[in-house]
């Protein structure tokens, strides 16, 4: 074990225990209430996949725009990107187990649609094959990004930075196309008759928001416990805070763009998504969703001192991470579970499984490499960063 992992071995063990206990609880849940348990598993696995993918996205974006400020804590998004392999396979398993939820012709209603392209696109085998392709591409490319960066620790070659820059451009292109399609395949297709062309962007916004909040929490934990002390500075925190503020507003902007067009035209086939979610029992949850994902981060993150304060940033990041779960909950549960919001043991177990698995996997992968990319040519610039 490297020294970096030493302070976290107890924490890792506890998180692994939490994951195991909640997994057993959910296994019981699967026997008692299979649909509800499956919905929880879908949320958890999609959440985890977007965190891993978000890590890779953050690395790729900063590479292509030649950013230096993030280099000192780049091992955090790199460890997130490594997570993609296990959680990606987990998501594929959940999708394979829940194929009937994406049924294009539920209960034998063969006349639901006749458009040939949709017939072909929503075919169950093609649908699952696509998912496998998306996940493998993400795992492959993000692995390559991390491997090149870790190799630089030993050699310090400038060529590796350039290699990663090319790889990042390729990743961004692949990511933009596949993630948009994937979010439609896995979440929107739960209601095959409903569609929204902004769905991919909406999920992108939520994903970036969540991954920024995750990086803030992790970097602050790693700073207070050792590996990133005096390396992750208040200036880095400030910039992550600005990005989180921006992406919270972006999420709200996209959420409203989707809502307003559907509200304005008021066509039954489009409004079918929002009617159960806005009118009736889900209405208050929708309000909670907006408060957690936009109003709270917007008001807390506006003042400069808040973005530089460890305790405020930690709280806001946790609020946003809970908000992300609520956002996915509102996307999935009204479709699979009906008009009444359910929250109980299975959802709590799901949340614990999410935290446990994530934390355990993260600290494991973070310990696999040096906590700082020590030979990166931009590291010095990042350590003296002033915003």
């Amino acid at each position: 074990m490297t020294p970096a992992s030493a302070p976290f071995s107890t924490l890792s063990r506890r998180l692994a225990l939490l994951a195991i206990v909640s997994a057993i609880t959910l296994a019981i849940g699967a026997a008692i209430s299979p649909v509800r348990t499956w919905s929880n598993l879908l949320i958890i696995n999609f959440y985890l996949v977007t965190l891993g993918l978000g890590g890779a996205l953050f690395i790729a974006l900063t590479y292509v725009c030649n950013a230096s400020w993030n280099v000192s804590f780049r091992r955090v998004p790199e460890a997130l990107a490594v997570l993609l392999a296990p959680v990606g396979l987990g998501l594929l398993a959940v999708l394979a187990l829940g194929r009937e939820h994406y049924d294009w012709h539920p209960h034998g209603t063969g006349d639901a649609g006749t458009f040939w392209f949709k017939e072909m696109w929503c075919n169950s085998t093609f649908w699952f094959g696509r998912a496998a392709v998306y996940v493998s591409l993400w795992i492959l490319l993000s692995r390559a990004l991390v491997t090149v960066s870790r190799r630089q620790d030993n050699t310090g070659t400038l060529g590796l930075t350039i290699a990663n820059k090319r790889l990042s451009a390729l990743f961004l292109f692949v990511y933009a196309v596949t993630f948009s399609l994937a979010s439609c395949d896995w979440l929107m297709l739960l209601e095959p008759l409903w569609f929204s062309t902004i769905w991919g962007v909406y999920n992108f916004a939520g994903m970036v928001q969540a991954v920024l909040a995750t990086m803030i929490v992790l970097a602050l934990v790693l700073r207070s416990r050792g590996p990133l002390r005096r390396i992750f500075t208040d200036d880095h925190l400030h910039d992550l805070g600005k990005l989180l503020l921006g992406f919270s507003c972006f999420w709200m902007y996209i959420w409203f763009s989707q809502y307003m067009l559907i509200w304005y035209t008021n066509i039954p086939e489009e409004a079918s998504y929002f009617i159960p979610r806005m009118q009736g029992a889900w209405g208050p949850i929708m309000v909670v969703n907006i408060v957690l994902n936009w109003i709270a981060p917007f008001l807390f993150l506006l003042p400069r001192p808040c973005k530089r304060s460890e305790s405020v940033m930690m709280k806001v990041a946790v609020i946003v991470l809970i908000g992300r779960w609520v956002d996915l909950y509102v996307m999935v549960f009204p479709t699979t579970m009906g008009d009444w919001p359910v929250f109980g043991l299975w959802e709590l177990a799901g949340g614990c499984l999410l935290i446990g698995t994530f934390g355990w996997l993260f600290f494991r992968s973070f310990a696999k490499a040096a906590p700082v990319p020590s030979a990166d040519p931009l590291l010095g610039e990042s350590l003296h960063y002033h915003c």
């Binding site: 409203f256 809502y259 307003m260 509200w263 304005y264 008021n266 506006l302 400069r304 001192p305 002033h386």
Partner: protein, 179 residues
């Protein structure tokens, strides 16, 4: 504040930063600093208070959003109601985009004009640099020769270790700082 100023010139930003930090901690009144480019950390060294421009921006944004929401409500529900797709007169979602744009517009204009106003930058204003060289390679610190215990030789001795390039006295006039 008196009308007598002391100009201390340096050749590099590190000297200016260190000298500013020292003078500020000794309680000297630093009026301003002129540098060829933005020097990071100088605001902190000078002991400047956080900018209040953010409040101007926030208030202007709120005025824009709330004012436009009220205006749209007045148009759509009171002054000239038009039936659009059977929606209620006071439909909030249809008012949000314009309210958002107005908030951005007023926040942007408000901040820019407040900044220009406070720094007295207006069209036709003549450039009055304290020294020509601050636009090129000199870093100048302007001190207020405020009270009776301001001792020129003492200040000079204090600034010597920071590679002081020049020391000069000026008087405040309507034409700027004159010799």
């Amino acid at each position: 504040m008196s009308d007598r100023r002391l100009l201390a010139s340096f050749d590099c930003e590190e000297d200016l930063l260190a000298a500013t930090t020292l003078l500020n901690s000794k309680g000297y009144r630093i009026v301003d600093a002129f540098t060829p480019y933005a020097v990071h950390g100088l605001d902190h060294a000078m002991g400047l208070k956080p900018s209040r421009l953010t409040w101007v921006c926030f208030v202007c944004g709120m005025v824009g959003a709330l004012g436009m929401l009220w205006f749209e409500y007045w148009i759509g529900a009171i002054s000239w109601p038009i039936d659009v797709g059977g929606k209620p007169w006071n439909s909030l979602p249809s008012n949000v985009p314009v309210a958002f744009e107005t908030a951005v517009l007023l926040a942007g204009f408000g901040s820019v004009f407040a900044l220009l106003g406070v720094s007295r930058l207006y069209p036709g204003k003549k450039v009055q640099p304290v020294l020509e060289r601050v636009t090129d390679d000199r870093f100048v610190l302007v001190l207020d020769e405020a009270d009776a215990r301001f001792d020129m030789s003492q200040v000079e001795a204090m600034l010597k270790p920071f590679n002081l390039a020049a020391l000069e006295e000026r008087v405040v006039t309507t034409e700027g700082l004159q010799r």
